[in-house]
Amino acid sequence: MRQFKLLLFILAVAGTVFTAACKKDNLTIRQSDVGLTLTPPAGLQNVRTSNVVLVFKESNSGVDSTFQMNGSMPPVIILPDGSYEVTLEGDVEYELDGVKYSRKIRGHKQGVAVSGGSVTLDIPLFLYDETAGLVFKEIFFTGTVTPEGKQYNGDKYFIIYNNSEDTLYADGLVIAEAAFLSTTKRTYDPDVMPEAFTPGSIVMIPGKGTDHPIYPGKQIVVANNAINHKEYNPNSFDLSKSEFELTMLGSINVDNPQVPDLVNVNGFMTMHNRGFKSYIMGRLPEGTTIDQYKETQKYTYSYIQTNGTPRYTEGYKFPNSWIIDAVNLSVPAVFEWILTAPALDMGWTYCGKVDSDDGRYGKSVKRAVLSTNPDGRVILKDTNNSTKDFEAEARPSLMQ
């Protein structure tokens, strides 16, 4: 009995201590009102949105808060303070040049700070089309390692897939690698990202227009070096049957005579093997030559280095309206920003979870399958969000 009393006493004392401890911390969660303005895409008339769903994802906790919009009236949004990523999806009806369209609409904003009682938020909306034509089906950018643990590079590749119902042509298709790094966010001046991508190396598939058809549901492989890499690295694979190969820098170029080469528009593409750079696919407008492109799209951008000195770089723009598909790549531990306008790709995918991750070699990013038609044609998922559309750290499809 005494012992029981003692126990009660101890519990009571402990309770006091705990309550006292609790009282010290103010655990009330601060909340803020979020006011919302949605800006419809420019140039559209009589825009009517419906079935709009907003998802606020808190970056630190990963908690999603979903809100449904009632017609075009913004919902009442009260959120715990934090840093949010906002995604928005819905239907839209609009008129363009007198024609009425029904499409899907989206919005995206990163790093939204909600704090201080009330916040107003402006989300620009953009259209998207799930049935785009050519897409990146797979990007193998990491290369392989030899049994001795050395890097091997020549076996990197892209796979381009016809996701449409029509025969499309690879002739004149441009592939470009970003000049910026997704692991280093900088304030570039001027900031052209809303209207154009800033490529580093640019390559183009040769052809007169209809030389290289890609049939619906079919793909082409663009290899760095279209050779049987098993001769050089038993851990690699045979790319000698690729449809195209890159022309690399003189000293590391290998030319398989039976595989046509891509045309280098700017620089030589040596794909970033840690995956810090994004890729886009697009076309120059009808009738635009490479020289004309270079003449009209050259620009100089700069950023301020950490020591205060600006750094200037010469580069090109590749307008967003010319882009067919885009894939942002980064590394989870060091991701800082995406290198395309969110309308092109609002997410990103990866191989390797930390910088220089040895586990990344021999892995690729592969687009997920949306559905298979009754005729067997596979439709790949293309929602312009690589986070959702791609399988990260996948086994390369060409690896036997």
């Binding site: 643990g149 050395k150 000293s251 700017n266 270079k294 700069s302 600006p310 200037y312």
Partner: protein, 872 residues
């Protein structure tokens, strides 16, 4: 009855014949005292008196560098200062110079000297260290024949930060434990010393009797052991000194993959003869030193079991000298001296690397110019590379001093000759051409022994004139040195020319001005001189430059049918117009002394416009581009021949580098040092030294730059070269002061010092340019003016570099302060324990440049260590 005599150097004295009897022997001297000794003399007898330093010499105890009372600005660092500083290598002594600052040892990279400079640009200004001469016991450390380099031969050169070729003396190889005294001539050295531009380091090593001294130092980076002993050979006026040292260090306390070892040993003998007419001294020494750099690759970054780098230097030095001093009064020839040295090095760099073809790669390894069919490299292999260097240097110097008077002027004339011969007998880069370490770098092996030796012949003549005007004393040393390379091939502009260095230094000692109860001693000085440094063997006989252009790359799926063809071009890379680097120095000095407090000031201006730098030479090369599609790859039945392919002609720019006199280094500054007398009682001395430096680094040549590799014109790279006439370079400046407070307490055997080292500001400002080329050249080889139209051209516009005002704005980095403490405790002269802490505290405030905060605080951790010295 009293007999007197004077001791010779080293404290030896002789009375000659004395009558038998009992004598009391005592000494009288300024610096030493000894208790008297009673001697009963009845045969020839040797008497030893143990002396100790007289107490009044306390004022002579310096633990910092002292400014020598010499004809030009010179810092002197003696044994005691070194002991208190606790150096790991010679590098650490430079902290004591005006403008110096304590730095953590970096023993796994080359340690280069930069006298009187505010900045440290990475490339193009190696003349700073190459042009500083190091003399050990009168003979130079000659680095002319050093060719030990693997750059180009290995991708990611593991030797990059250790490469000493064309960079002069690597100070980490110099141990300080056998050094008695160092003189660092910052100003204008006597014409007796040449083949230098920046300065002169004179190292004098320990001679004569010493007890066994042992030193053990340890800090976070290294362990050091040193042993030394000086013997007197009984019955003869001869001494032998032996020194041994060992240093083991690593790049970071936590990194075992990169380390450096140094072993040095030295035996030195000196014998003296003396009679009433002359005093002769013979000295001979043998030195052996070896250093080993080891680097294994971190398993995370390479194939650990195979990849390694090891660079070993073995240096053998024989030195002998004979000096004769004429003591007869009135002799015209006061002394003559001959000094010779032969040194030989066996240097080996061994690199092993697992080479993995990053893709199928064409193997270009033809040794001759022309078109060659080629193969593809083996997919992976362990490549081995040896760089075998055997530099040999011979040195001979003969000098005569003549003294006479004309009217009131005392002349002290120095005449002499100096010969240096340098040759490398090594096998050079040795490796299997089929298994190159860097398959994509266009390098070929070269045997060093095919390079001719270099003979460097000089003469010098100097007259030191001293005269008194009233109580003023004026000294002037005016001299001329001539230097030439007589054995050079006539194609070189430098061949058989004599390069003259006139130099003059003056000192004017004013009579003491009364100031209170003391007199203010003022000495004013000025100097002017030219200093010439000859290029090295590597600059005069560079590696031939190979350019390999893949013309055909037919990588058929069937290995039998593969075909590759390479055009190889060879340029000799020789710049026949290369001249020596010449530095023009001007300086003014003032020296003020009052009651043992001394202030020394030096203003200097040095102008060197012909420093060595590697510059790019562009040339247009023609080659063929074979068309793989001209052969029906799908239906081959036999390997195709190169002639089966159609081709197009192509041409583009290729660059290679040559050495030219393109670096200008203009140094200006004020050096100051104030030394107080030791305050009585606590024996504390205040030393404040420092310097204001402003250095202008400029590439004095027009710049040729190839167009960005990104620009592809009709599928071809490198179709344009831009010519820029702006001055590529920067001003760098700094003002620093080091305040050292030291107490020497002989009674407690304690030396304590605290030093406050402050860089008040550092400045950097790049020379303005608007980035626009003045001309451009296409592959037709014709220069065109770069105009507004060029800016419209989609390709030529890439030659324009974007700049803005902010790039050329002066950046001032504010205060960088650190405090260091050192303590030495003596135990009855038998043992001493020292310890030091550098950066005990620091103050480095953040600063703003272009609205950007540069954060500097919180990045520094102290560097500390301790050592034990024993005397037996």
């Amino acid at each position: 009855m009293q007999f007197r005599t004077f001791s010779a150097n080293g404290g030896r004295f002789s009375f000659g014949p004395l009558p038998f009897g009992t004598y009391k022997v005592s000494i009288a001297g300024m610096l030493f005292k000894a208790p008297g000794k009673t001697v009963h003399l009845h045969k020839d007898q040797q008497v030893e008196l143990t002396v100790e330093k007289a107490l009044q010499t306390l004022q002579e105890v310096f633990i910092t560098a002292s400014e020598a009372k010499a004809m030009t600005s010179t810092s002197v660092i003696d044994r005691r200062a070194m002991q208190h500083l606790q150096p790991s290598s010679f590098t650490d002594l430079l902290e004591l110079l005006p403008g110096g600052r304590s730095k953590d040892p970096a023993l796994t990279t080359m340690n280069r000297i930069r006298l009187r400079e505010a900045g440290a640009p990475e490339t193009g200004y190696d003349i700073s260290s190459l042009g500083t001469a190091f003399l050990v016991d009168g003979a130079p450390i000659n680095t002319t024949a050093n060719l030990q380099s693997v750059s180009v031969y290995v991708a990611n050169d593991p030797n990059q930060y250790r490469n000493t070729t064309n960079r002069g003396v690597d100070m980490r190889t110099l141990s300080t434990d056998d050094i008695e005294k160092v003189e660092i001539v910052r100003g204008i050295p006597s014409v007796e010393y040449g083949d230098l531009t920046s300065g002169l380091i004179k190292i004098e090593r320990k001679k004569g009797y010493t007890p066994i001294t042992a030193r053990m130092k340890t800090d976070g980076f290294s362990k050091l052991f040193a042993l030394g002993k000086g013997f007197n050979v009984p019955g003869q006026d001869m001494s032998v000194n032996v020194d041994l040292g060992f240093l083991d260090s690593k790049s970071k306390p936590t990194d075992n993959f990169t380390n450096y070892k140094r072993i040095n040993s030295s035996v030195r003998a000196e014998k003296r003869w003396e009679n009433s007419l002359r005093r002769m001294k013979w000295a001979g020494s043998f030195d052996y030193a070896t250093t080993v750099d080891n680097q294994r690759t971190d398993p995370d970054n390479g194939y650990a079991p195979v990849d390694k780098f090891r660079s070993r230097f073995n240096r053998y030095v024989f030195n002998t000298s004979l000096k004769n001093e004429v003591t007869r009064l009135g002799a015209l020839v006061k002394s003559w001296e001959v000094n010779t040295q032969v040194d030989y090095q066996r240097d080996r760099m061994d690199v092993t690397k697992w080479v993995q073809a990053r893709s199928a790669t064409v193997l270009a390894n033809a040794l001759t110019e022309g078109e060659h069919d080629a193969t593809f490299i083996t997919p992976s292999y362990a490549a081995e590379l040896l760089v075998d260097g055997r530099p040999f240097n011979a040195f001979l110097k003969a000098k005569m001093n003549i003294g006479f008077r004309t009217a009131a002027i005392t002349h002290d004339v120095k005449l002499g000759l100096e010969t240096n011969y340098s040759k490398n007998f090594g096998k050079g880069q040795v490796y299997d051409l089929t298994y190159p370490m860097n398959p994509t770098g266009s390098a070929r092996p070269r045997a060093f022994d095919t390079i001719p030796g270099m003979l460097n012949q000089s003469f010098f003549a100097e007259d030191m004139m001293t005269f008194n005007v009233g109580r003023h004393k004026v000294s002037t040393a005016a001299g001329l040195r001539g230097m030439s390379l007589p054995a050079m091939d006539g194609k070189y502009a430098i061949a058989s020319k004599i390069y003259l260095d006139p130099r003059i230094n003056m000192r004017w000692a004013l009579p003491g001005l009364p100031a209170g109860q003391h007199r203010l001693q003022v000495t004013l000085g000025a100097g002017f001189g030219l200093h010439t440094k000859m290029p090295t063997l590597d600059m005069l006989y560079p590696n031939p430059k190979y350019t390999d252009i893949v013309q055909l790359n037919f990588y058929h799926n069937n290995p039998e049918y593969r075909k590759a063809n390479v055009a190889t071009y060879v340029a000799d890379g020789i710049n026949y117009h290369l001249k020596p680097a010449v530095n023009r120095k001007l300086e003014f000095n003032g020296d003020f002394e009052l009651n043992g407090n001394r202030l020394s000031l030096t203003y200097f201006h040095e102008k060197l416009t012909s420093g060595f730098r590697t510059v790019a030479r562009f040339r247009v090369l023609d080659f063929k581009v074979y068309d793989n599609r001209s052969v029906d790859a799908g239906n081959l039945t036999a390997p195709p021949a190169t002639s089966d392919f159609d081709y197009e002609h192509a041409r583009q720019f290729f660059s290679y580098s040559v050495t030219a006199n393109g670096s200008a280094l203009i140094k200006e500054g004020v050096e100051f040092q104030f030394v107080s007398r030791r305050l009585p009682g606590i024996n504390t001395r205040f030393t404040m030294n420092g310097a204001w430096f402003k250095t202008n680094y400029v590439n004095s040549f027009p710049l040729y730059k190839g167009i960005s590799a990104n620009v592809i014109v009709d599928g071809k790279q490198s179709q344009y070269v831009g010519v820029y006439d702006y001055q590529d370079g920067a001003y760098r400046g700094q003002l620093n002061t080091n305040l050292t407070v030291d107490s020497y307490l002989p009674v407690l055997g304690l030396t304590v010092s605290a030093s406050l080292q402050n860089i008040w500001y550092r400045m950097e400002q790049y020379h303005y340019n608007d980035g626009t080329p003045v001309q451009y050249m296409g592959v037709d080889g014709v220069l065109h003016p770069y105009t507004k139209e060029s800016l419209e051209d989609p390709n030529l516009v890439w030659l324009k570099e974007t700049t803005s005002g902010i790039l050329f704005q002066k950046r001032i980095v504010p205060v960088d302060l650190q405090g260091n403490v050192k303590v030495t405790k003596d135990f009855k002269k038998k043992a001493a324990v020292s310890m030091f802490v550098n950066r005990l505290f620091t103050y480095t405030p953040d600063y703003v440049f272009n609205n950007t905060i540069n954060r500097r605080s919180g990045f520094s951790s102290p560097y500390f260590g301790m050592e034990l010295n024993l005397n037996f």
